[in-house]
């Protein structure tokens, strides 16, 4: 890179480099560019990151179990991606706004989404689980990539309103092939929108390896769209926290968008309906188990002299609480009322839909009557 390019992106690190502060064994590596961004992260903060990762892994396992038990219709597990999600979500300010895909349960968790709010959709009981304005997180999007444009639009508005908030768009490696994500990069750059593109490259888009979407690091896409791209070890929660803080900070300071590729791995199936054995080997998985995001932070904490018994006990207790809350939450999710199928199609009265609703109500009433008649 020439100095002028460095200037343009504000980065010393090249998009092909992998930013890593904690390696797979938990050893801390100095990084002059990103260390300052986590200078305040003391042992307590690390313990917090560790605990949250343990909690969301547990929530994920519980939800997977609930699906097996028939309590959920479907569940897309996040296992393996805890560091990418917890690290980036911890970097957010309260007034920032999240636009996500369907696998960002840990983000939702840190935004204060309750388990029942998280699960109702996957139970098939509600179209969405939480109030986006309360949690500062949009409802998740299943249409791959679509939310990236929403994040940009929101950020354009933030800029026009001279707000100091930024938005963050979460999407996967597969999503980078969709037109929407590319158009989002174009708009973000054109309007210098305070938005961070956070791509969790978990190696797979269902059965398709990332190599089918791109033959080189996805972070390299960014430069061509006029923004810095940075590749981070997505299983290193500290590095993820650092680069996301860096990106959000420059966005807030009016320096425009940035693109983060968090290199991680989806340890579980795509969803509970998927069978990864059909397309990947156990070796592949085993290799990534070695790079487990939780183990490495655990090792680092241990090496830092933290009281690991307390750390583990505390994490386990938090996970148990969350799991209990989750199991309680699932039974608290009400089955929706039949006629609610018509609610919220429009914000304003709509003559056609009202007529249809009335007619359907009459239809349903027939059964009540006949049930009554039968009594």
């Amino acid at each position: 890179m020439t100095p002028s390019d460095r200037e343009a992106t504000g980065l010393l690190t090249r998009p092909d480099d992998l930013v890593r502060l904690l390696d797979a064994t938990g050893r801390r590596h100095a990084n002059p560019e990103f260390d300052p961004w986590v200078a305040d992260v003391d042992v307590d903060a690390l313990v917090d990151l560790h605990r949250e990762m343990v909690v969301v892994r547990r929530l994920d396992a519980e939800a997977t179990a609930l699906q097996r038990q028939g309590e959920l219709a479907l569940w897309p597990p996040l296992a393996g991606q805890e560091a990418a999600q917890i690290g980036s979500a911890r970097a957010l300010h309260d007034d920032d706004f999240v636009f996500s895909s369907y696998r960002e349960h840990a983000i939702a968790w840190l935004r204060g989404v309750r388990p029942d709010e998280l699960l109702s959709v996957w139970r098939g009981a509600a179209a969405s689980g939480w109030d986006p304005y309360e949690k500062r997180m949009a409802i998740p999007n299943i249409i791959i990539g679509a939310q990236s444009l929403h994040a940009v639009g929101w950020a354009m508005g933030a800029k026009w309103e001279a707000s100091s908030a930024a938005s963050i768009a979460y999407f996967g490696d597969g999503a980078t092939s969709e037109g929407d994500v590319n158009e989002a990069l174009v708009f973000a750059s054109s309007f210098d929108a305070p938005v961070v593109f956070f791509c969790q490259n978990n190696g797979w888009a269902i059965s398709e390896p990332v190599g089918l979407q791109s033959k080189q690091p996805l972070a390299r896409r960014a430069d061509g769209f006029g923004m810095p791209g940075i590749r981070v070890d997505g299983n290193d929660v500290l590095a993820v926290l650092a680069v996301t803080r860096w990106a959000l900070d420059r966005a807030r300071r009016g320096e425009g968008p940035a693109f983060i590729e968090a290199v991680t791995y989806r340890m579980g199936p795509h969803t509970t309906a998927d069978d990864p054995k059909r397309y990947r080997t156990d070796d592949d998985l085993a290799e990534w188990r070695e790079r487990d995001p939780i183990t490495r932070l655990h090792a680092f904490l241990a090496a830092s002299g933290a009281d690991m018994e307390a750390v583990d006990a505390d994490a386990k207790a938090a996970a148990d609480r969350a799991a209990a809350e989750l199991r309680a939450g699932i039974t608290a999710i009400p089955d929706p009322e039949p006629m609610s199928v018509f609610d919220h199609v429009y914000a304003e009265p709509n003559s056609h839909l009202e007529r249809q609703r009335d007619r359907y109500a009459r239809y349903l009433a027939m059964f009540d009557e006949s049930a009554e008649g039968a009594r």
Binding site: S128, G153, W154, M156, D343, S351, H352
Partner: protein, 336 residues
């Protein structure tokens, strides 16, 4: 009352909306500096600034998708699709996001977006510049679909569309942009005819002729021509294509017993099919003949020199009226 063109009426409506509400923002290709390829947004960027009237990169999904994000933030985006045929790259954002977000978010997220589309043919344009995509939108739950037909309506309805908390696909009959009409620029929205209500633009007894957009004028001309033949046509300007104001059509058909629906879009699955089916359902016992559709053919929009053989015109509408009335018509022998 001022006499201005259809295009200017929309321009004034947009100006008024921008002035009245800070959250209104216009987005589109070439709408700022150029004022739009039809000059509909002429002068608005100069007046309101580049953050209210936004020239965007060349990407329709991008325009609609970022507008969704702006709506999430509380803006009321008014996006322009340069021509009807360019709306399809944005179709996913419109169908899966704009139309569904209020439902999907259980009413927490409002999508008060207006998608302005100059639509229809008759201007001798190149490929993809003369389409009538309205049925794609009327079949999409969550959208409202509006088509205006005259300057006075255009001025009021664009403001009503912007004021609506639901997303509105707002269709502007581009071949009428230069037509002049009287517009009351002081018109108060509160007193205005709701945009969901159809207008009977010519009273008649023999047959009900329903249409919208550019064909409203053709229908009125047909009514005038038919009157000389002692055929009395009631012409209804639909204005709202979704939902349709069936009360107005129904009342008319119960009187006339005959219905003709005309539009430029193809027949198969067009708006006319829905109206014919619904009116048959609602007025079966009053109908003296099957509803007749007079539409564009089910073909890709043809080259300019052929468009006159595709678009319904006065003669084709009168032939349709004759079919509805059982008078001699192009199909007399066929149907006999």
């Amino acid at each position: 009352m001022t006499t201005i063109t259809f295009g200017k009426a929309i321009n004034e409506g947009l100006r008024r909306a921008l002035a009245d509400d800070d959250t209104v923002v216009l987005m589109g290709e070439d709408i700022g500096t150029l004022g739009g390829v039809f000059r509909i947004t002429d002068g608005l960027k100069a007046e309101f600034g580049e953050h209210r009237v936004v020239d965007t990169p060349l990407s329709e999904a991008g325009i609609v998708g970022t507008a969704v994000g702006l709506a999430y933030r509380g803006f009321r985006p008014v996006v322009e699709i340069q021509f009807d045929g360019f709306v399809y790259p944005a179709f996913d954002q419109i169908v899966a996001q704009v139309a569904k977000l209020h439902y999907r978010s259980r009413g927490t997220v409002r999508m008060p977006m207006v998608i302005r589309i100059p639509f229809g043919g008759g201007i001798g344009a190149a490929e993809h510049h003369s389409e009538s995509p309205e049925a794609y939108f009327t079949h999409t739950a969550g959208l409202r679909v509006i088509a205006c037909s005259n300057p006075a309506d255009a001025y009021v309805m664009i403001r009503q569309a912007i004021a609506s908390d639901d997303p509105v696909v707002f269709l502007e009959p581009k071949r009428r942009y230069h037509v002049k009409g009287e517009v009351d620029l002081e018109a108060n929205l509160a007193d205005a005819r709701p945009m969901g209500v159809a207008t009977t633009v010519a009273a008649g007894d023999d047959v009900t002729l329903v249409t919208y957009g550019a064909l409203v004028q053709t229908a009125k001309d047909a009514a005038t021509a038919a009157a000389e033949d002692d055929v009395s046509i009631e012409v209804i300007d639909l204005r709202s294509l979704a939902p349709v104001d069936y009360a107005t059509i129904e009342a008319s058909v119960r009187r006339t017993g005959r219905l003709v629906v005309a539009h430029e879009a193809g027949e198969q699955g067009g708006v006319g099919a829905e109206i014919a089916a619904s009116i048959t359902e609602r007025c079966f016992d009053f109908l003296e003949a099957a509803p007749v559709r007079v539409t564009g053919h089910d073909i890709p929009y043809p080259p300019a020199k052929l468009e006159q053989y595709h678009l319904p015109d006065l003669d084709r509408i009168l032939d349709g009226v004759d079919r509805a009335l059982g008078r001699p018509n192009s199909l007399s022998e066929v149907d006999a």
